[in-house]
Symmetry: C2
Subunit: 434 residues, 2 copies
């Protein structure tokens, strides 16, 4: 067996017919079942006959999902099935710190697992492999994709996020051939192993699947990880609103294949709102094609990408993301967790001991991202500074799940902005593939 | 539908016929496929014709599994299928700190999920429920049982172990009706909620499934949790060598039903090695009846239990564990994690700065177990004491996954034992149901 699913090599023309049919069905399902879509999609746009008609459909974004779920908690009016049919939610944190939920029916969930198996298989995973899942299983990352590895037949080790020394011991004992983690952690783990006297290059690991950060497609980062582990790095891209992993690198490594039977891609110039040509940068819009519980129609991902549609040397016809170049918005990704500066702002600004001024400094130490939040106490504050710092740190951790270093200065220490505040100082190198 | 599976009400006579047939098949499968069982089970015991014949089969225990997996890493010679067929392992830590693996084929895994669904259904879970899984997903607890809740059709929220404030926010936002956690954490979480101004008794939670510790069957603990949350507590018992949950309380709450189509129970007097009568205490031996990857035959669980076989008022015929009364061995359960004192001993004794003397003090603060490791440095040690304590703490965390407080005294501070060392001081009340 060369491919997991015959659809992977479907000629593009057929694939586009398939997509068009699925977009039509999705729009019909959405406006029929969901009060949100019934209102959101004008009657005159509902009859999608050509690919050009798709561009007439209204877009939606994370903020629309959030407002919808706040208005009708917890799953919102975008939901297209009775809640009894929902068996799973993945969730992501966002600009207010409140997670938004992405609901799945059992069919959606099974399709996700099958799709995950397809991606893993394309990256070389086989039933003779041992797969170690070293990503967080909690709400905010979407661990159940490990079931995709089990579907391939690989022996799966649900490690989760555990102390590095323990993970190294598990690698030593169970000898996984494949590990899934973030690129920065893969790097850090390799160096930790070396310090423990365990040679990662001589270990059982032959492939690393990396996700959650752009590092896997950044040549220098990738090469460092590959040489450290003497193993092949395969980059993955996910978006919790759709699937834990939406695209991944096959063994030919000519970009990240996106399953075009599950998602329709559009790449749009954020200035002109026009489609950009292949190879050019633009914002990625995705339309789900098979989602039952909560289809997304022209969902603005906020990610700036480039893509190519010519056949990959692996034989697969589905398009490849050839670069993920950054974010349209200010979102930071810290250790694989999405952090909107506005979420931190709302914590700072709800604390009466603080002036409301703040600055976020992101650095990379030992290949791990580190976030420092600098802020100021008001003049009248006479309390214990260390306790205040601890409280803010705790509030950030509780709301966002991210450990930040917090430094509280005297009032008027931080620079005031004259025009647009420069609140983010990102000292990391090569965070985005530019 | 009243029951998940018709087998739950099978008349006991039929059930025992079924079990006998399955034990015979299991022994045949084991001696044919596994070099361990081929050597371990004498030829003259292999023909199991009556329940009495079962008592002639040799027993095995955790230590046998460990030695077998150490001799032939990582899965040992007990494995009864080619490794390509293994898709999942659950694992538990033990006396040396090295986890032992419990392997599953896809069929075993699917049966586990279905069995989990059966237990949850018997406790009242339905497809209209929202289920919040707040147990750890990592290797050492076996989180995938959350898939059982999905199989029932409940909306499942994979929370995992996250900070309490965050979990409360998730409860507030997604309004789960059921939560699964440890009893001590259920208690602590309820009190944390109150401190945050969130009234657990007024929350969406209607049922708590608790596991990992005996608290759910201890009347005082159960009543406190039930009144705090204004919700029903259902106790669960699991053993990672077999299933994440092996027994659970139905809505009648007359003990924990054990699926007798999956496991054969024997309760044995540890002194005489004879079967004890119903209602009397003895060590629980389990024989798996359907496991493909690694059947266990007469596995000594180390748990002291009582059981009853008369029909439960819920109508189910499968026997009920009416008490889990403690351990045969010294194992501690700290926050749901099994801790063998010998694992800590091996860390202490491999550190040249320490005398090798130690004492484990277990307390309960805010309903959470807390482990303090007291030890001594050698006279010649002139280093930084705080750093030494930190190192030991770190080594314990890395090996066992448990956070312990470590106190290093001067040489000869701890009491020396004249006969048998009293190394464990358990200050918790009502840890076991005695």
């Amino acid at each position: 067996m060369t491919y997991w699913d015959p659809i992977e090599t479907m000629p593009r023309e057929e694939l586009e017919d398939y997509q068009l049919k699925k977009v039509r069905a999705t729009v019909r399902h959405a406006v029929k079942q969901s009060p949100y879509y019934a209102r959101h999609i004008p009657k005159e746009c509902r009859d999608v006959r050509t690919m050009q008609d798709i561009a007439r459909l209204p877009v939606c974004d994370k903020d629309d999902i959030r407002k919808d779920q706040e208005a009708m908690p917890p799953l919102g009016r975008m939901l297209c099935v009775p809640e009894e049919k929902v068996v799973y939610i993945s969730a992501s944190s966002g600009s207010t710190g409140a997670p938004t939920a992405s609901p799945f029916t059992q069919r959606d969930f099974d399709e996700w697992i099958d799709y995950e198996a397809r991606l893993f298989y394309s990256s070389g995973l086989r039933n003779t492999d041992r797969y170690c899942h070293a990503l967080n299983f909690s709400l905010f990352v979407g661990g159940p994709c490990v079931l995709g590895a089990q579907k391939v037949g690989a022996l799966s080790i649900h490690a989760g996020t555990i102390p590095s020394e323990r993970l190294i011991k598990i690698i030593d004992q169970f000898k996984p051939t494949v590990i899934w983690t973030t690129p920065s952690y893969a790097w850090y783990l390799g160096e930790t192993a070396e310090k423990m006297g365990f040679d990662p290059a001589a270990s059982s690991i032959k492939r690393l699947f990396v996700a959650g950060e752009p590092g896997g497609s950044i040549e220098t980062t990738r090469r460092r990880i590959e040489s450290l582990w003497n193993a092949s790095v395969h980059d993955y891209y996910g978006i919790s609103d759709i699937f834990g992993a939406c695209a991944g690198e096959c063994t030919a490594k000519e970009g990240l294949h996106l399953a075009e039977d599950h998602m329709l891609l559009e790449v749009i110039d954020p200035e002109t709102n026009e489609h950009v040509a292949e190879g050019e940068k633009g914002e990625m819009y995705l339309t789900t094609l098979r989602k039952e519980a909560r289809p997304l129609i022209r969902f603005r991902t906020g990610d700036i990408v480039t893509y190519e549609t010519d056949r990959c040397s692996c034989g697969r016809t589905h398009l490849r993301l050839t670069g993920i170049h950054g974010r349209v918005d200010d979102m930071l990704i810290i250790k694989g967790v999405n952090v909107m500066p506005s979420a931190i702002e709302s914590i700072i600004r709800s604390n009466e001991d603080l002036t409301g001024e703040y600055r976020l400094v992101v650095t990379r130490e030992n290949h791990l991202d580190s976030l420092t939040v600098e802020t100021e106490h008001v003049d009248r504050f006479k309390g214990n500074l260390a306790l205040l710092e601890q409280k803010i740190q705790h509030d950030i951790k509780a709301a966002l799940g991210v450990s930040a270093r917090v430094v509280v200065y005297d009032e008027d220490t931080l620079p005031r902005a004259t025009h647009k505040a420069k609140r983010i100082i990102d000292k990391r190198e090569h965070v985005w593939n530019e």
